[in-house]
Subunit: 167 residues, 2 copies
């Protein structure tokens, strides 16, 4: 249940302009402090890619550092969200998911109700129409959220390819 195909940031060796650098800058500007935990959490988060639940992130971080507390992960993700490196998403399953957003354009989501795969997409036409609709009601749009739930190609009953064994 993953599968994002996002272009990797310059994962070169001496590259310093990645999200980690942005976080460091943000931390310094605000007189906050860096820490092993924050670095680990951020690193794991960006390494995981996709749309990560706190639970998943905690598990991953603890693989390297078993004593990191859930609270710290929550607090750090809030930090990442504040400085624009992550976005919190609520798909209707009761778990907040975080998504890396460094320098990424806005996009919406296609979510497979069978295998859970999450695909991102963007559509200018839809965005425009949203503006039109909003204006029609006197609204000024600040943000929006569009999620399409359904069956992905592999999970579709009629087509071919087995639905991953979970109807």
């Amino acid at each position: 249940m993953k599968g994002s195909s996002r272009p990797r940031e310059g994962s070169g060796s001496a590259q310093v302009s990645g999200p980690t650098a942005t976080l460091a800058a943000y931390i310094q500007e605000r007189g906050l402090k860096q820490s092993r935990q924050r670095e680990r959490i951020a690193q794991s988060f960006f390494a995981m890619g996709g749309h990560v639940t706190v639970e998943q992130l905690v598990a991953r971080v603890r693989r390297d550092d078993p004593r990191v507390s859930v609270a710290t992960v929550y607090r750090t993700m809030k930090l990442l969200a504040e400085c624009g490196l992550a976005v919190a998403r609520q798909f209707g399953d009761g778990q907040t998911r975080y998504e890396a957003s460094a320098g990424r354009d806005h996009h919406d989501h296609l979510i497979c109700t069978a295998c859970g795969e999450i695909i991102e997409f963007a559509n200018e036409r839809i965005e425009s129409l949203q503006e039109v609709v909003a204006r029609r009601h006197g609204f000024e749009v600040e943000s929006h959220r569009l999620e399409l739930y359904g069956r992905c190609a592999r999970c579709r009953p009629p087509g071919r390819a087995r639905p991953e064994a979970r109807p």
Copy 2:
């Protein structure tokens, strides 16, 4: 707009075929039982209209019947959702909201981030484009969710009229 939705049930005379009747039918068909609580909860829910949180609903129901438990309200709303009279909505605020859906067409939401007002809208063009996008990714859409967050006419900074004083 669709064919003037909500035909006011002019047909039967003695038969009140509103949502309450649908619930009663559903209850009987399934061998379930009616109860004072269920009636009160359903009645309050439909009377309130809009997008109601369980908390609000509980408060309202208890105004008439202080001993109704939260659990019963949850269970009853689940029942209403099962028989298609209500729909559970998750706007990102951590509270499940229920919305009456008897005979209503699909629609999406405009949500004011200042006063919390929720406006419904429907747009065929957007729906069509959603299908196109989904198909392009091999998805078959089962449902979707579109929410536009922003400032309603009254809450817009530049314009006039006061923001109702409730964030």
